[in-house]
Amino acid sequence: MNPRSMNAQHEQGRRKAPEMNGNRPMALETDMQAPSLDVREGVDRETVETVANMGSYKYGWDTDIEMDYAPKGLSEDIIRLISAKNEEPDWMTDWRLQAYRRWLQMAEPRWAMLRYPQIDYQDQFYYAKPKSMTQRPKSLEDVDPKLLATYEKLGIPLKEQMLLAGVEGAEAVSPGRRVAVDAVFDSVSVGTTFKAELAKAGVIFCSISEAIREHPDLVRKYLGSVVPQSDNFFATLNSAVFSDGSFVYIPPNTRCPMELSTYFRINAENTGQFERTLIIADKGSYVSYLEGCTAPKRDIAQLHAAVVEIVLLDDAEVKYSTVQNWFPGDEEGRGGIYNFVTKRADCRGARSRVMWTQVETGSAITWKYPSCLLRGDDSQGEFYSIAIANNMQQADTGTKMVHLGKRTRSRIVSKGISAGRAQNTYRGLVSMHPRATDSRNYTQCDSLLIGDRCGAHTVPYIEVKNNSSRVEHEATTSKVDDDQLFYCRSRGMDEEEAVALVVNGFCREVLQALPMEFAMEAQALVAISLEGSVG
């Protein structure tokens, strides 16, 4: 049960002093080297990007599309503008403003094991929308082909693409296993597929901005009820400025007829993405929800501060899987996404059950603790995580299991992999409240080091306030050892294949928790993320 921390490198990767580019204030600049913005237009830019894209991050391209930006910076006016752009009712605008005023009084948390330069919140765009989306597309013809092409290139299962605009009749043609997709591009939802079919089952799946307009009662009742406006600095910022995200409602005793997914794409430069997802699983319902994310390669780090709230009533079950593949920054730590995310599930109902599965390979900075409030008696929370940090990436991630109800159970399986000069921290809380009698937790927390310049840290917090609960914590730290690599290579695998094989073995329990095709993607991603980490 001891907190363990181990560092493979005594001489920490020393960072070069930043060469400041005096001409322009830069948002979220990493402390490595000032990126040059002068190549922004024309051929130079293309050349730079082509070269940059030759690396291993295959989603690093961008879409050249005309955008509508709100002015840079954050103020009450900007918030009113975002609210107006989304055609929101007054109560929503007020809710945002309340959050904003609160946020102004809050300080950015710095307790995580993360090092990054001061973020200039006034040097960000908080709203970016493709111009072509100004008029809500009514049919396939109306959706900007560039947007459709973007998702096609990302390989998002948009058979649904045909259906993005909800074209009548198109849904009948899709064979096999289907996934409904809500595609979020920068600040707006581009479209949601299979809506009509889902509606037949009573399932509501749409963008949150649409939900605010069309289903205000549900939104008003549940928004902020799991992650309160003032929960933490980043969640509060999100509450003020969130522009879009997904909304899901599964009616009582309904098994959602297909998997739902949201695909987040950050495209615009200097723009933060602040999406908000709200999932409500009514009594006895079930849904499996997938989330995927990518962003172009940029020299400048970008901010992503999302909030996900899940409400589970009696006997409901939700599986939430994330494959997070934001641009992680380059080998020297330039650029990448700063990912500050608050995800929480509230098992309000008795016997409800939530399972978080995450594969975190991207982001320069990850600050993320998907949590479970086990309020209902006999409710269950599970957290399966793979966090990979390579090169200069830093991850501080884990979970919170708060046991409030009787006989609640939780299980945590965390696999942290560090390579290059990366630092990877597991931070977890298991809390057994006095009323949570006869509850159980099992935590398994394994770290794998590749090379000798990276670090793995495990910081478990455990509070038990009753006599009948049990908490188990196991932690291991291991290295991909030379014998394993040589063994694989002597059988014909090259070094990278060998590392991927060993690492996939290490992650197996978590990969198995993912839906099938997500698991395949994740497995491939694990290999790609570790390219160049040995040798």
């Binding site: 014909g492 695998m493 197996r508």
Partner: protein, 251 residues
Amino acid sequence: MLEIKNLHVKLEDEDKVILKGVDLTVEAGKVHAIMGPNGSGKSTLSYVLSGRDGYRVTEGSATLDGADLLAMAPEERAAAGLFLAFQYPVEIPGVGNMTFLRTAVNAQRKARGEEEVSAADFLKLVRAQAKMLNIDADMLKRPVNVGFSGGEKKRNEILQMAILAPRMCILDETDSGLDVDAMRLVADGVNALRDGKRGFLVITHYQRLLDHIKPDVVHIMADGRIVRTGGPELALEVERNGYADILAEAI
């Protein structure tokens, strides 16, 4: 086929010379055995041939069918047809034995510009070979060597050898830690692979493995050199008199 000439090897990080001029040629279809006391350099020879880090070749050469082994990465040597059955097979947690094998087969095929083997064909191939080595389906599913008994690990090495179908097989003390029955299974597996074209280099301390795998040529290695070469009767001599006589003679 395998030609080792005047091979000198030292440890990379220490000034310790281990091989002091090894000369050895294994012809196609032949089984050569290397015997010798502890610390004579037998295992080092097998590691150097398969490309393990930590050693430096200071002089000499090693070729397989004329190709310079020492210039190749371990995986290239494997694709060129070299196989080492490990004395201590390595455990890889979480990776199913079957997955490991298929990854290896396909990696080699890819390196040789061949098409990947289909899952169905592969399964057939493995099942047939596994049956011969008395390896059950459960062992194929379990993670590579994790929780395997000594005998299971060695049989698993021979299974890999059978499936990868190398040109040249090196067995590094495959008999260590085996009971008589397990040794017979392993030997049967090896004998089944003797097809008149494949070469074998069998490294062992004891004569008893050579009762089951009949060698064509026996070498005695001591202090980093081959000190004597002869027929199968040489192994029997060692069994009777130990190494002392031969070593005394060599010096």
